[in-house]
Every structure is written in C-alpha cells, then in structure tokens.
C-alpha cells in the first residue's frame, strides 16, 4: 500500500495555533452533541433510516448537496481546477444542476409517491427480486468503497495538521462518524450535513476572495495563467474542454461532456444514487421532497465558483504546485513532485492565505466535509443493507426493533470495511478518477434502466436485471481496455475521457439489452405497475395530496424553481464561455 508517499512532507504542515484547535474542538462538540440529541427522536427503524419522514425542505435541500460535498468536491474539484481550470464548471452546470432539476420534476413523484424506503426497493416493486438484489448488493458495495475514499481524504488532512500516522487518523475519523450515525441515524447525519454546508462556505469563500485579491483579481489570475504557457486557452474557457476530457477532437470532446458527463454520469449519479435520494425521502411531504433537489440546485450552481477558482489560484500562488504543474507538462506521467500534486491544492492555499483563527475554522470545515461525505455513504449503506438485503432475504418478519438493532450493527460493520477501503484509495493519484470509475460502473446503467422502467411499461422483469448486469460489465471492460492502453482515442487514463466513454457505453448496452430481452419475455400486467410507470399513474398522484397551505405559493412550485435555476446555470455558462 502506498500510504507513506503522500504525506510526510513537513512543508505542508499547517501552523495551527492553540486557538485553532479550540475552534475545531467547538465544532466536534456540536457534531457529537447533534448525534446525542438526535438519538432521542429515534424510536423506530423509519426514524433511524429516514428521519421519520419529517424534515423541512430547506434542511433536506442543503443536506442533499452537502452529502456530496465530501472528498469529491473539496479535493477532487479543486484538483480539477488546478489541473484543468475553467472546464471544471461542467461538473456543475452541465452535470449536476440539470440532473437535480430532472430528479425534482420528473422522478421524485415516483420515489416519494410509491412510499418506497430506498431506490433498490423501487426496483423490487417494478421488476422483482433479481433486479432488486443486483442493485442492492452493488450499491452497498459501492457505498462502502466510497466511504473509504472519504475516510482516506480525511485521514490525509488530519495527518497534515497533527502529523498523526495515516492509519491513526483514519481510525479516529471513522470512530467519530460511527458515533453520531449509530446514535442519531439519518437525522444526525442530515443535521450535521447542513451545519457542514455553512462551515465549508466559511472555508471556501475567504480562500477565493483573499486569493483573488493577492493575484490582482480575475484578470490578474488570467494574466498569471497566460504567462505560464501551459495551454492557457484551454484552461481559461469552458468549451470545448479538450483538456478535461483528454479527447483532442473538439466536437467529440463536447459530445463527451454533454452526453458522457452530463446526460449519463451526472443524471445517473444525482437521480438514482440512494445516498442523495434518501435525503429527499426524509422530507415531510411530497412538495418538500420534490423541492429538495431543486432547493439544493441553487447553492450548487454558485458553489463551483468558490471551488474551481481556488484550485486555479493554488496552481499560480503556491510555488510547489506551480512547479509540479510545469514539470507535468514535460512529463505527463508524473504523479507528484516532492510529495505534492493537485490533490494538495486546498491545503496549500490554506497555508499560504489564512491567519490563525480563520485557519481553525477552515480546518474544521475540511474535516466536516469529509465526515459528512462519509456519513452520507454509511447512512445510505445501512439502510439498503437492512431494508433491501437483510429484511427481505435473510431474516423476514421480525419486529421493527430488531431491524433498528441490525441497522446500528451494520453501521459498525460498514465503518470497519470502509477503513479497509481507505487503504485501497491511497494508491490513486487523482481521487476523482477512482470515484468516476465507480460511478460509471454502477450509476450509468442504473439510470438507463430507470428511464426505461418509468416510461416504457412493456419493460419486463428479466430485462431489469439483465440490462443492469450487462451495462455494468461493459463499463468495466471499457475501463480495463483504456487502462491497458488498448483504446486511446478517448484520452489517457489520467483524464476523465475513459470514464465519460465508459458511462456512455454502459448506458447504450443497458438500453439495447433491456429492449431485446423485454421483447422476448412477458410484461407485467398493467394493474401491478400503477404508481411505478408514467403512463399508468394518474397526474394527481404525481403531485401528492399532502401539501401544506403555504406549499401552493408560486415560489414553492417545483416547475418555477427548476426553470429559474436552469436559467441561472445557462447564464453562468455563457459568462465563462
């Protein structure tokens, strides 16, 4: 295991003063306090796994994006900003935001309206046990692996700060997450995610503003990047993004971004990933559930500005990172220089810009982000394992208290496995590639299956599982071929191209196999598909009947919220063209 190479460099050690530790301590007292207080509201398994379906929309909406604001955003996206520049915005304005709008407007009525307790349970109702098991097991495995990545990222931050050995940091961080998720269940995870959202902004906004002030504003940053002669035009405009895809042909690059990243990867991730959908299922009524991803989309649209800009700033402000970036142009296979690579962008910027005091807040924000990310993985893992694997297939028909106990026990097991996964993650240079790979294996074919399942009532039980399996296998094959250097037209393995193409292949294979198998097998009768398929569900049922008086106001209507945020994303896209 390559655990030692990453750290050890004393130049990265942040000079935290006692006051910084006090500010970090205040945060952790609140984190554990929320866990202890949330415990009092847990009396059934539904309380533990879905917060008793009682959350207001602003809480679930912020938790919805916070659950994703872990290692992916903070390390991965600032690393992308440092390496590729402006094209990083595609993950947000082409990827996440349209997908979140689609989830709120089109898919949430089926999830919330059918009263399923998880995404796999929807597949059980629509396709039966085979598809249910394929999805439930693959999701549970993926979440534990991703929890390991979040844990690893957290461990490196603690290692930098305190100089603890990586494995000690990983175990202690896992213990804290374990403490509040086993005590308070999803409520504790969600409340901590909302708190984390604000603390992480208190890290990112000052980094962006102070960094821009230091280099002389946006034009100063552009001048600095132009002066480096490292293909500056690709870094300073969002399209065609050939540097981020690794696809040299501009037309193919744009197609890769729009279909691979946007339509397949992002729609797959945001609309079918239960770690996200679970936040909306905990909302108190249909209106709040539909508004959850829509309310989350607004901060999501703007937060990228304080993520990719700090990444670009780090690559010009921090001498170590600038040196690595220059060296990488000469030798594209270079993974790090003196222990520094793009993943260190955030810490380098904190070191170079923040005084004691704000440094403590910033470290608390980073730790919070990683813990919230891991907590989201663990709290969705324990739900799927208990409701979708243990309850239907291993121990049926026990009293509810039994499943609550199992849920707590499984949380412990999940954390232990995540610790092991953290050491797997430590072998990769750019954490993003590893995550994208996992997503393309699991989410892209799942999205294809969901689209067919919702809009094509002819799709059969056998098509459900066979499409999922063949789609996932084909994504693995593409990734393996790209890694082996056999397929090079869609970019080297250091870029995102293979993930985008793998996702598209998985999507197409899933659709083709599903259609062929459906036409060869017997469909389910219409009576069993009510509430699960668009054409067989009354329009009124899609809106839900449990609104509260204020929910009819125009500013709470899902269509208005969705259209507004799409216009904002489009406008920002034009600004950074």
């Amino acid at each position: 295991m390559a655990t030692t190479q990453v750290l050890a460099d004393a130049s990265l050690r942040l000079n935290a003063a006692p006051i910084d530790y006090v500010l970090i301590g205040v945060y952790f007292v609140l984190v554990l306090g929320i866990g202890a207080m949330a415990r009092r509201s847990v009396s059934s398994s539904l309380d533990f796994f879905l917060s008793g379906r009682s959350m207001p929309a602003w809480v679930t909406g912020l938790a919805f994006i916070s659950a994703n604001l872990g290692a992916v955003e903070i390390f991965g996206m600032t690393a992308n900003g440092a390496q590729f520049g402006v094209p990083t915005v595609h993950y947000y304005w082409i990827g996440a935001v349209p997908a979140m709008v689609f989830l709120g407007l089109v898919m949430m009525p089926f999830y919330y309206g059918s009263k399923v307790r998880s995404v796999p349970e929807f597949l059980l109702r629509r396709f039966g046990p085979a598809t249910h098991l394929v999805n439930g097991v693959s999701f549970a495995v993926a979440q534990v692996l991703i929890a390991g990545i979040n844990l690893y990222a957290l461990g490196t931050v603690v290692n930098l700060l305190l100089g603890w050995p990586l494995w000690v940091s990983i175990v202690v961080a896992a213990a804290i997450v374990l403490a509040y998720t086993t005590l308070g269940g999803l409520s504790a995870a969600i409340y901590n995610e909302v708190m984390q959202f604000f603390v992480i902004l208190a890290l990112l906004i000052p980094l962006t503003i102070v960094g821009l002030a230091k280099v002389g504003g946006w034009s100063g940053l552009m001048d600095k990047i132009n002066a480096t002669h490292l293909n500056p035009s690709a870094q300073l405009s969002s399209w065609p993004g050939t540097n981020i895809t690794g696809i040299n042909n501009p037309v193919l690059s744009v197609l890769g971004i729009v279909f691979g990243l946007g339509f397949v990867l992002s729609f797959g991730y945001w609309t079918t990933n239960f770690a996200e959908v679970q936040r909306a299922l905990s909302a108190k009524n249909m209106s709040a559930a539909r508004r959850t991803p829509l309310i989350g989309a607004f901060p999501k649209t703007f937060i990228v500005l304080v993520i990719f800009i700090p990444g670009m700033l780090a690559a010009v402000i921090s001498p170590e990172l600038a040196k690595f970036k220059a060296a990488q142009v000469a030798n594209p296979n270079l993974k790090s220089l003196d222990g520094i690579n793009y993943n260190n962008a955030t810490e380098l910027l904190m070191r170079d810009l923040l005084p004691n005091g704000m440094l403590g807040v910033a470290i608390a924000g980073l730790l919070a982000a990683f813990m919230a990310g891991m907590a989201a993985n663990i709290s969705s893992f324990n739900t799927v394992f208990t409701y979708d694997i243990w309850q239907p297939y291993i121990r049926k028909d026990r009293p509810d208290g039994y499943y609550l106990r199992i849920g707590r026990l499984v949380t412990v097991v999940g954390c232990v496995v995540a610790i092991a996964a953290a050491f797997i993650a430590s072998g990769y240079g750019n954490v993003m590639n590893y995550l994208q790979t996992l997503f393309s294996f699991f989410n892209a074919p799942l999205f294809a299956t969901f689209i067919l399942a919702l809009f094509w009532k002819r799709m059969t039980k056998a098509a459900g599982w066979s499409g999922l399996v063949s789609g996932t296998v084909s994504a693995v094959i593409v990734f393996a071929l790209a890694n082996a250097g056999v397929l090079t037209i869609f970019g080297s393995t250091d870029t995102q191209g293979p993930s985008f193409v793998g996702a598209m292949v998985a999507f197409v294979v899933d659709v083709v196999v599903s259609v062929v198998v459906s036409l060869a097998t017997e469909p389910k009768p219409d009576s069993e598909l009510r509430g699960l398929v668009w054409s067989l569900t009354p329009r009124g049922a899609l809106r839900g009947g449990d609104d509260e008086p204020g929910d009819r106001a125009w500013y709470r209507r899902p269509a208005v919220l969705g259209a507004t945020v799409l216009v904002i994303a489009l406008a920002l896209n034009i600004v950074f063209w």
Binding site: L30, M37, G52, P355, V361
Partner: protein, 92 residues
C-alpha cells in the same frame, strides 16, 4: 419552512427537540466573536499562519460576516419557531 402556529397532521404538535437554526447561530456566534477579536487584536499585522503577508485582515473580514450570519439564524429561529406533527407510534 416553519410557519408559526401550524398544527398539521393529527393536530398534536411539539416544538422540535432541538432547532438546527439555534445550533448554527451558536456555532457562527462563537466563531464570529473569536475570529473578529483576533482580527482586531492583530493591529496592522496581516500575516498568515505560515508567516506570509497577504495585505488583507482576513480574520476581521471573515469574522464580521459570520456574526451577521449568526444573527440572521437567531432571528429566523426566534420569529418562526418550528412545530412538528407528532409521528404515529406505529409508523414504519
């Protein structure tokens, strides 16, 4: 969002065991006070923890917005206290 006096569901309501908005107000209140004071006490010094001069009093200019944020959360929680319907005992 929280409408005061709302008693949806079975008519029984209770104030949420703990209101997240008060926790956020407390957290940013503490952070805002500490960081703002450090900014004020630093006089003209604007050095970072690693000893570089960034020419901006970062603590002061981040501490004040955090105090404003804390005040906004406290105000919201005080003006619109949350009530939640009592969940059914046999839910789930």
């Amino acid at each position: 969002m929280a409408d005061a006096n709302r008693t949806s569901g079975g008519g029984k309501s209770r104030v949420l065991l703990f209101d997240l908005r008060w926790i956020l107000a407390f957290l940013f209140g503490v952070y805002g006070i500490v960081v703002t004071l450090m900014g004020l006490l630093a006089n003209a010094k604007t050095y970072t923890a690693s000893g570089q001069d960034v020419h901006v009093n970062v603590n002061l200019w981040t501490g004040i917005p955090m105090l404003v944020l804390a005040a906004l959360f406290a105000l919201w929680a005080a003006l619109r206290p949350t009530f939640v319907p009592r969940s059914d005992d046999n839910a789930g």
